[in-house]
Amino acid sequence: MTIRRVLIANRGEIAVRVIRACQMLGIETVLATSEADREAMPAQLADRAVCIGAARSTDSYLNYRAIVTAAKATGCDAVHPGYGFLSEKPELADACASEGLIFVGPTGDHMRKMGNKIAARTLAHEAGVPTLPGSEKIGSAADAVEVAERIGYPVMLKAAAGGGGRGMKVIYDRSKLPDAFAAASAEAGSAFGDPTLYLERFIANARHIEVQLLGDKFGNVIHIGERDCSLQRRHQKVVEEAPAPGITETLRQEICKAAVGLARNIGYENAGTCEFIYDEDAKTFYFLEMNTRIQVEHPVSETITGIDLVQEQFRIAAGERLRFQQSDIVFRGHAVECRVNAEIPEQGFRPNAGLIQTWAPPMGPNIRLDTHCYPGYTVPIFYDSMLAKLIVYGSTRTEAIERMRRALELFTISGVGTTIPFLHFMMGRAEFIGGKVSTHLIDHVMPDFLSASRPAAEYSSRTQPLAVLEKR
């Protein structure tokens, strides 16, 4: 089984990223694109682009029938879903399987197993992976109160079909629970079409640590180390790094071993990520969920191991055995990734589409930029606001953070407001530099950012002293 031509069912930087991997592997690329993206960078880099529908993603990137039809009609033998959109929808993986196309990812069954968070919790428990004290399924507010009394407040209500923070509520005392239950249930119902909730203990001083996994079709599963993604805003990751700072080697090995055990238990194939919540006070970790796709933040793991995870996805999908054993994976140095979004941080991170007039990214050793943007590109209003991922490497964490700070200063974008000023601010915060990361750090430092923040125009002029310095 070989892959000669692949249809890429995605857009933006990840479409570019997948095309780059194909170029290295000698695989031809067909890009499924929406009308809004037909002139965008991925469409120009792909060997062929097929416009599969209107700009709205429900009419294009979420239409698995159109994607399978386009793949078949253009002679593709495989489909790569990227992340988001249909990447974790069993419908596309199943349709590919029944149409004789290789899906570059896990099977539809793997997605179904891990897609329902209650079922995933049970699987984790069966694999001996610690789960947060809590319940399977909460039927009513009265049930919720009973479970909460047992495990102790604060507790968190979560949606069984959930993701992205919707349908999630933290409850600190009994009186608030009935209202929160009703609200979370309604939110989950409208967001995911399934109002089912479950309840877990809420960890106040939490970090988000996740493990990158690779599994082949022969039952081999290895990990490519862990990442810390604690810097989040509204449950969306903002800064990621590898390895996770400030944890003991023993703990690191335990977390990675737990992730591998869970994936091996379900015969997981291709790239995936096991997410954990780490209780900084109790120094314990708990299973959160498993993501059955390549993730946005995969480059930090690539940077410290030298492994091209997207290329490995193709090799695994084509039926090859893993090319590495666990002992072959060598971790070296430290990598940090910042997500540069078209959002105005001073205005509550308001998304900000429009024409990019200046696009002058930083370059140089140990700086990587994954992007689909260029000067003159118009950021469409229909999709998420991510413009680029800036990834830097340093032999130590301190060196990586310092390089990131400089790189952000040298990154000049005009035309659309970006999160660069905020990212730059974070890189200079003592908590972050000291490795004192938590999922609440951004909320905690936000008032300081807002009081210290200057107008965007003033920020871009801040690169000028550096230019003077270079001329000397």
Binding site: S34, E35, E39, R48, V50, C51, A66
Partner: protein, 173 residues
């Protein structure tokens, strides 16, 4: 074929051009003409050959024009084309484009063997079906959305058409 063409005088070529023009404005898809040992076949739209076929006097092997039946669906093109290039042909002035509302396989007729929904010269009304677009065994009927006469069929039967691709050109009435 080039040998045959070189035997044609300039006025023969002019006559052929006139024939092509009159076919273009007619309601016919094909013209097959035999005068002595000269055989000429001119086709349009979903033709077996994309360009009008001209056969020279020595075309003894040429029995009859191939029926306007579906061309054996070509294996998916190995050569790659760039996005949006299909729309590069400039539309003749005064025509309206009928664009595909969805991406899928284009079918000119309701089922194999039956006549096409429309041909060049067919008069269409807004709600008249002009083709089918198939997406994973689901056939979607597309209507003209405009009143007029089909002046050009821009795609071939059983071809993948993109969202927004020009399928027909219509001279409005």
């Amino acid at each position: 074929m080039s040998d045959g063409l070189s035997e044609l005088k300039e006025e023969d070529v002019e006559r052929l051009v006139r024939l092509i023009e009159s076919l273009e404005s007619s309601t016919f898809d094909y013209l097959h003409l035999e005068v002595g040992n000269l055989k000429v076949t001119i086709g349009k739209g979903a033709a077996p050959m994309s360009a009008p076929a001209v056969t020279a006097p020595d075309a003894s092997a040429y029995v009859s024009p191939p029926p306007p039946a579906p061309v054996a669906a070509a294996p998916p093109a190995i050569e790659t084309t760039l996005a949006g290039k299909h729309a590069a042909d400039a539309a003749p002035a005064g025509t309206i484009e009928i664009k595909s509302q969805i991406m899928g396989m284009f079918y000119a007729q309701p089922e194999p063997g039956s006549p096409p929904f429309v041909s060049v010269g067919t008069e269409v009304k807004e709600d008249m079906t002009v083709c089918l677009i198939e997406v994973m065994k689901t056939f979607n009927a597309m209507t003209a959305g405009v009143k007029g006469v089909i002046s050009e069929i821009c795609v071939e039967n059983a071809q993948l058409v993109e969202y927004g691709q020009v399928l027909f050109r219509v001279r409005p009435s």
